[in-house]
Symmetry: C2
Subunit: 443 residues, 2 copies
């Protein structure tokens, strides 16, 4: 399916150029040197979580499946590579026929992960796998970083809904992926219409300060908004004086007013005052929405305030201090000759201290205690121990080039809530700490 | 021009849904209430630079012009808005005919900016201007954040070339914009093929550790690479033992070897050793490229090391600690009635301390001392003082809906180098400090 033909505003016709130049030069050298056909296993993992974070959230898997499917070189792209002299004619010919025909397994989307977790495993010939490095990492590193921040915010917000409003603070297409990741992490809705269009996420929003300011008076603005959008709308009450605006809002809309939004000031103090004022005016059901520079700490600090919903922007789309995950895509095993039957041998970089990796094709499982609480991430390269066979983490996503692991976004969102819920309680402490599960390696 | 028809991998058919839900509900209420046609002036500015930063870099202007041109609602988008009940039928009808017909002025791309600088000014009816808020801010906030980091790195690198390699650390399309912003900020090339395709930026890269590891020996890997890519290639020498790899590299490629790349370890120490070893082997012209988790501080710390080029990834695409600028899009003036001749009145939010804004349509100029060094950013709402008339900063970008300010990317890159060069010398200190120019307001 060519997504460009659908006119979708957030996809692109081909993902094949979201690729580092060196993937193609390696391909050329491997094709010429005779190693391109060696069966290979690449794994995506991170050596560490961001400092202080207690768990990671796998996100972007569904987008990876789209990206692999759309990884096709068309005539214009090949012409570009030819004109620039990126690779030779034989390699261009090979690229013109490229379709990923291998297998991909991975942690299902929304699952939590820890240092060393093999969150994605790509298997096929060296040539067909090496090309996918950049686009797979771009997606997983971005989306997982946002989902991890969203998950912490969702834990801090408890039962109160979180609205994603950060589109204006990040690249316009990163924003769409960020809305998606926020939804997986536990947000309820987004301001971003493209995210609603592309992923079906509920969209929300009513008005900004500009709307009040374009009117001659706040009364005219509120009246126009209520006339057009109904009494259930949310009125923004901090353009001039909050107390006056709240009184005016209830006067204009009546006690059926849906909500008031506060976007500046000391939210804890202001929320209490506004709640009291609304109650005195009989607007007991009018909700209070706050939206000013929130992060997970600010959300937690408002737990005792009479706030009904949070809108989060900048800190969500920038990963609350950690805008990228540090996942890498590493060759961990390969055959010494061509052919599907050639035995795999583990390989790993050996120099450079902190950048060493563990060779070999891995399985992963999560061990739980008698109460169903996770107690360890267990990773190995040999046989899976019998007692862990039922709690393995990797699932099949692509088989022989065909996507088999697609699922609705809701499934990832539900899975994340369940996975986070099964972690030890200290997982959702906001303070800095070590990963909440140890990673254990078994031979 | 419908970019989707061109098969470009990095554009999208329409930018109209990169929009917050509330822009459309405000539009509906304004259309119904009679204020939609009021002539309005919106300005983009930031209240502050990121903590410690001494100047900002305007970037994304060229992408904004594309986004405004492609801001069109097609049938599928309108159907989505209808099905979701985002706005009413009259508003959908209005949207189906939407074309921005107003004027845009702004700081030219690559120019530096300071707190309060009106980096973009959008003028037209309230309705046509309010819709553009989100997409304009997404682009400018992202691209300017990356360009600011790039500029600091370029200042630290001096004459040594910087290569952008961060695609894998950010959203796949944000990566393309990041390459573009890095180029404006002073980088020379990118690993991202899509950035080469879309913006003509030179692309670079040769091989990763996976290429060495897929071979049975490092010798076979180096031989295959040199056979295919030539002796001028860059060999990656830190997969196993660096000293052995450097000896092997020169043995295989001869002293004509283009470069060696070091991606781990203590770069300062290793670079000195590798340079000495290369020289002893007679490979005096073989260059040393370093690429491991660099930022502007690491680059500066390598100033005395025998390094010939830097590859920067994560810290570039994440803005080196500041992944977004904090630009806002605010209504600063509007008429009290319809019509192009109705006089403009300044408006501004008044509550919420730190979020107050200065009303009125602004001009901006930069004052220089007798030596041509910038000494102040001067902003005003009245007449431009005669002595500043020649150093005004805003240029015309869109006139009556037609783009008039398009320019080649090189122009923005050159402008940035000149603008940074005209700042006081303390601008390029890496230590934290205040904005290097004060912002002065004149009535």
């Amino acid at each position: 399916m060519n997504t460009a033909e659908l006119g979708l505003p957030v996809d692109v016709p081909s993902t094949a150029l979201f690729t580092d130049h060196y993937e193609l030069t390696m391909l050329q050298a491997a094709l010429e040197g005779g190693t391109a056909g060696r069966r290979s296993v690449f794994e995506v993992f991170t050596r560490r979580l961001p400092p202080g974070r207690r768990y990671g959230v796998v996100c972007g898997t569904g987008r990876v499946l789209d990206a692999v499917r759309n990884f096709r070189f068309d005539e214009r792209q090949l012409a570009f590579l030819r004109e620039r002299g990126v690779v030779d004619g034989a390699t261009l010919e090979w690229l013109s026929r490229y379709r990923f025909g291998g297998d991909i397994w991975g942690y299902p989307e929304g699952e939590v992960y820890f240092p060393g977790s093999p969150v994605l495993r790509v298997e096929g010939t060296f040539a067909e796998c090496v090309l996918l490095e950049t686009v797979i990492l771009s997606i997983l590193n971005h989306d997982s970083a946002i989902a991890a921040a969203a998950s912490r915010m969702a834990a801090a917000a408890g039962d109160r809904p979180l609205m994603e409003m950060g589109a204006r603070r990040t690249h316009e297409l990163a924003a769409v992926a960020a809305s998606r990741a926020a939804y997986v992490g536990g947000f309820s809705s987004t301001s971003d219409l493209a995210a609603g269009f592309r992923y079906g996420i509920p969209t929300i929003g009513t008005s900004a300060h500009a709307f009040t300011l374009v009117h001659d008076t706040e009364r005219e603005a509120f009246t126009a908004q209520v006339d057009s959008l109904g009494r259930g709308t949310t009125l923004l009450v901090d353009t001039y004086d909050v107390a006056e605006a709240v009184a005016l809002a209830v006067e204009v809309a009546g006690p059926e007013l849906g909500a008031v939004r506060i976007d500046s000031g000391d939210l804890l103090l202001v929320a209490h005052r506004v709640r009291q004022q609304l109650d005195e005016l009989g607007a007991h059901k009018t909700r209070i929405v706050v939206t000013s520079d929130l992060d997970e700490y600010a959300i937690a600090s408002l737990a005792a305030a009479p706030v009904d919903a949070y809108g989060v922007g900048t800190q969500l789309v920038t990963g609350s201090g950690h805008p990228t995950a540090s996942m890498v895509y590493k060759l961990v095993a390969r055959a010494s000759s061509d052919g599907a039957d050639a035995p795999l041998e583990p390989v790993a970089k050996r120099s450079g201290g902190g950048k060493r990796t563990l060779g070999g094709r891995k399985w992963a499982a999560r061990r739980f205690d008698a109460y169903g609480v996770a107690e360890a991430e267990v990773i190995g390269t040999g046989e899976v121990p019998g007692e862990l066979a039922g709690s393995q983490l990797l699932v099949e996503l692509v088989r022989g080039g065909e996507v088999v692991g697609r699922e609705p976004l809701e499934a990832a969102r539900d899975r994340h809530a369940a996975a986070r819920g099964a972690l030890p309680m200290s997982a959702t402490q906001l303070s800095r700490g070590e990963p909440v599960l140890p990673t254990e390696y078994v031979a």
